[in-house]
């Protein structure tokens, strides 16, 4: 099984030359570290920056330069800052090419839930609802099962939704899956994970066609 870094590495391969990418909090943030060096990609953060660079060197942090996860960051030459309305113009206007975010649940119809557990945890949706409602290319990065071992790839989400029918691809610690009309299509499996294990860990309809290749990371 992959760890978080492994998931991030696999997702990094989905990032293509010339892409503007929005990375969610958590595993998605790690993706930036593993994008190939020979392609040009720009990272957008919805709090108002395009062209994010790595974390600052110690002592060079600027409280006025953070990402959506409230982490101190740097910017690269050619970066820009803008207000929240313009930031979501980029997102809603589909100028961002790829959105990578985490999830608590994904359903076989592409629904996603990641902002609220009624009565328990209410963090809020932040920019996620805008992102999933507008992005044409959404990849979910998450563990295949929750802490209690229950599948997070469901027939139908049980938690309040973040967006409907929007997820296109999912990369978990076990597999890469595509959301199709008929459910989760298994594209790749983690090197040491069998198709049978993935089947057991997937509540939603899992489509297995032919030999399932191992992920290359």
């Amino acid at each position: 099984m992959l760890d978080k870094t492994g998931i991030a590495k696999r997702i990094a391969k989905e990032v293509q030359d010339g892409y503007y990418v929005n990375l969610g909090i958590g595993i998605p943030t790690l993706v930036a570290n593993y994008v190939r060096n020979d392609i040009e990609v720009e990272f957008q953060s919805e709090n108002g920056v395009l062209g994010m660079g790595p974390f600052p060197f110690e002592g060079e942090e600027d409280a006025d330069v953070i990402n959506a996860g409230k982490q101190t960051i740097t910017t690269l030459p050619g970066a820009s800052f803008f207000d929240s309305a313009m930031s979501f113009s980029m997102i809603r206007g589909q100028h961002v090419d790829l959105t990578i975010l985490g999830a608590m649940e994904v359903a076989e119809n592409g629904d996603i839930a990641n902002w609220k557990i009624p009565g328990k945890m209410v963090k809020g949706m932040g920019g996620a609802m805008d992102l999933v409602a507008s992005a044409e290319n959404i990849i979910v990065a998450m563990m295949h099962t929750n802490k209690r071992g229950e599948s997070k790839l469901l027939k139908r989400c049980s938690l309040p939704l973040t967006g409907v029918g929007c997820v296109k691809k999912i990369v978990t610690n076990m597999a890469v899956l595509e959301v199709t009309e008929n459910g989760f299509k298994l594209l790749e499996r983690a090197p040491d994970v069998s198709v049978e294990t993935i089947k057991e860990a997937t509540e939603g309809n899992l489509i297995i066609e032919g030999e399932i290749p191992k992920m290359h990371i």
Binding site: F57, G124, M125, M129
Partner: protein, 231 residues
């Protein structure tokens, strides 16, 4: 030029009353109107409805601990325990809305639009009870412009005409909240003399600002100090 400068913080907040609706700029701790928030705590006004993207741990925390806030309209409140406690116990009313919707409902108020159609939240509980509509095969939710009494924003530099320039990601919601309430109060790190700011580089023209002052101090705390080590 029409002079927007006020002499002190109490003049800046003149007219603030219980049960008012306030907009407050900032994302996390970045770009929050620190001096205005401190004065709101001092004044002890209560029953406030606060429109602000987050609910920063300490600053809003003070307003929260004193139970000055009746209702929060935010997009993300994940990092505030006292907030979570009050919300789950029902002491605090919370309306969580998508971040882009929050920004655009501010901008609508600023720009004189009564409402906007956004795809965000369609099919979720955020859209419950709201009008939805199809345009070109896609579904949208009708979201109304905010109505607020005061807007508190924080800029980097400003002048007496009320012109504002923001820095880095401390910009965030601040420009969108200017002119979006009956009275916009801007606090700045540096109040410069008229004519100093390049007219091409002003983010918010003074017409959107009613009062401006230079804040006494800016703590500018960092929520997540992430660094890398030099090789």
């Amino acid at each position: 030029m029409i002079n927007k400068k006020v002499n002190n913080i109490s003049e800046a907040l003149k007219g603030i009353k219980n049960n008012m609706t306030l907009m407050l700029g900032g994302f996390g701790f970045s770009g929050i109107p620190e001096n205005a928030i401190a004065e709101l705590v001092t004044l002890g006004v209560s029953g406030l409805t606060c429109i602000s993207n987050n609910a920063g741990v300490d600053d809003f925390g003070l307003l929260l601990q004193q139970k000055q806030i009746k209702k929060m309209v935010s997009s993300y409140v994940g990092e505030n325990d006292e907030f979570g406690r009050q919300m789950l116990s029902g002491e605090l009313e919370v309306e969580l809305i998508p971040q882009g919707t929050l920004a655009e409902r501010c901008r609508a108020a600023q720009a004189g639009f009564p409402a906007v159609y956004t795809p965000a939240g369609y099919g979720t509980e955020v859209a419950q009870g709201k009008e939805t509509r199809e345009f070109n095969g896609k579904m949208y939710v009708l979201e109304h412009a905010f109505k607020a009494d005061f807007s508190f924003v924080k800029a980097w530099k400003g002048d007496e005409a009320g012109n504002l320039i923001f820095k880095g990601t401390a910009r965030n919601f601040n420009p969108n909240m200017c002119g979006a309430a009956k009275i916009t109060v801007a606090e700045v790190e540096e109040l410069v003399s008229l004519g100093t700011l390049d007219p091409n580089q002003i983010h918010i023209p003074g017409i959107f600002v009613q009062r401006i002052f230079q804040g006494d101090t800016y703590e500018k705390r960092i929520e997540q100090r992430t660094v890398r080590v030099k090789d």
